[in-house]
Symmetry: C2
Subunit: 327 residues, 2 copies
């Protein structure tokens, strides 16, 4: 007998992620209940973000369901990281063409693993029949007034990027059969695509230091443009300062590695800005969490992003990043 919606939730999703004392009521009712000011007093703000992953657009339709689930939750938690928030819980709206038990079992396993890793329990959701589509809403908390936003960058601020960008873009070429590498390299790059690391520790540690932050989902330059737009400023990026991935450079030329680092999406590193006087505190902060952050440019007056090539010329770039419905 096929599973129906209620069996499905009960069987696969009722216990997903850690127990949490903030959750008053979890899955199984019309809504979930959370303690509101859950650290005591009235000192926390609630951060909420939602992101949808459509099969064929945001992940290969026939990918491993456990990996799809990992990616879906991690990508959503990345929005909380970019706000400097600590995850509290999440909701899942899952649209599925059919209730395939094997697929669901793998998906639930991946989701549960990610939920455990980031101490973020599933507290509710909805399953519906339709083309495969995963919409996740994450809830997190931040001390009042300390959230990182896109709008605080000021001329003179330094622009930083955590970790390395361009690796997920290289993974896409592997997924699409366009390039091959030796097994270790492939595994490293594919893991970067399927299991991106939401930079939660970086986000929370940068509260009070970063003037603006965003996670790199559409591409470094495209996402930095959002900081520029929201802050009413411009930016200048020195391409030569960008950390480039060694594994990517075994797959492609230096020039393409640089292009991907600037415009490739899906890495979910944090791009942030901070006043120049804070640079030694930024370095110490990032060292304390074991994640490098590289200064790659500066915020300027005006608008628009200028990218300077290694030879000092202004760079001509291809499409600045992934834009849905774009030309």
């Amino acid at each position: 007998m096929p599973l129906d919606e209620f069996d499905l939730i009960d069987r696969f999703f009722r216990h997903c992620g850690p127990e949490s004392c903030n959750v008053v009521l979890g899955i199984g009712d019309d809504g979930a209940i959370l303690q509101a000011g859950h650290t005591g007093g009235n000192t926390e703000e609630l951060v909420v973000a939602t992101d949808t992953l459509v099969a064929g657009t945001h992940f290969p339709e026939h990918g491993d369901p456990a990996e799809i689930a990992q990616r879906a939750l991690r990508v959503n938690l990345s929005d909380l990281a970019a706000m400097g928030a600590q995850p509290t819980a999440f909701l899942l709206a899952l649209t599925l063409p059919e209730a395939d038990e094997q697929w669901l079992s793998g998906f639930a396993q991946g989701l549960s693993q990610a939920a455990q890793t980031f101490t973020c329990p599933l507290i509710g959701g909805d399953t519906t029949k339709g083309p495969l589509c995963i919409s996740i809403t994450t809830l997190g908390s931040v001390p009042r007034g300390q959230a990182l936003t896109r709008s605080g960058a000021r001329p003179g601020d330094i622009v930083y990027i955590t970790g390395i960008t361009g690796e997920a873009r290289a993974a896409l070429d592997i997924l699409q059969g366009k390039s091959r590498a030796e097994t270790n390299t492939e595994n490293h790059l594919l893991a970067r695509y399927w299991r991106p690391e939401p930079r939660i520790a970086a986000g929370t540690h940068l509260r009070g230091l970063a003037s603006a932050a965003i996670d790199v989902s559409d591409g470094l330059l495209a996402d930095l443009q959002h900081i520029a737009d929201n802050s009413g400023v411009g930016a200048i990026i020195e391409a030569g300062k960008l950390p480039l991935s060694k594994p990517v450079q075994t797959l492609t030329s230096h020039q393409w590695a640089l292009q991907w680092a600037l415009t490739g999406g899906d890495d979910y590193e944090l791009c942030f800005t901070a006043a120049p006087g804070l640079s030694s505190r930024i370095d110490a902060c990032m060292q304390s969490i074991g994640l490098p952050a590289t200064a790659i440019g500066a915020i300027t007056h005006g608008q628009g992003i200028v990218c300077i090539a290694e030879n000092g010329d202004a760079m001509a770039l291809e499409t600045p990043g992934y834009r849905h419905f774009g030309v």
Copy 2:
């Protein structure tokens, strides 16, 4: 030039619904920020619910976009109503096959109207390309410990239904061209389908009175079964006590009107239970908000729902309600 994702949010969704002092930061960043214990002190709990509407399953694909938006938000707010929560804000994850400006303009207009009506601003979301699918997450608040859940029904409690059920089911027949009625009747029934009334005032007024509550989305008997399952009880319903819709009875036989009232979905009335000693307080409470609630049966020991026909026999019913992925 076609709209891209960012123009689209900016143009259609940046100002949707009322201004709210609870919203610290709305649309346009990685996440939204809400005051956590926003009524002051630490006396509120946060209620969160999510619901997806897939084109072709939950609404006719080529329906009026303003009506689709109204229905999508109202259906989601109904979950908060069933929890006894007051809406605070909502997030929209909208998946669209194409960025059709006319469609989006209508959708944004309907969404904004519903958001104003229920004092519930849009604070964030995501737009993606894919088959039309609308996922909404609603946030609300309830005084600590006072949420209505599905699990508090006790043997002897009276079972109530607000308003009238079966009208949205009749509207489906009209939408599918299976029946016709005079214009006023059709308009009344279609409005019940497209603009169901989330019973928020009923939910908030029933705090401390109702022992359990659920909104009727899949059908009265199917949804009451959830209360029974979650509370570990059974129920007996007297069909003759059910309020039947006069407009529905102009379309179909008494027998079908009763069947639809018992098993038709999409009305979003509240089915709730309360101790018999509270019946006069329940009546007074419902009168104060101008919404009738009818006692239609009682909670019993055991499990399962028994429905007694008007002649005293146990009724044989067709499918108990809509179940995704069901047989």
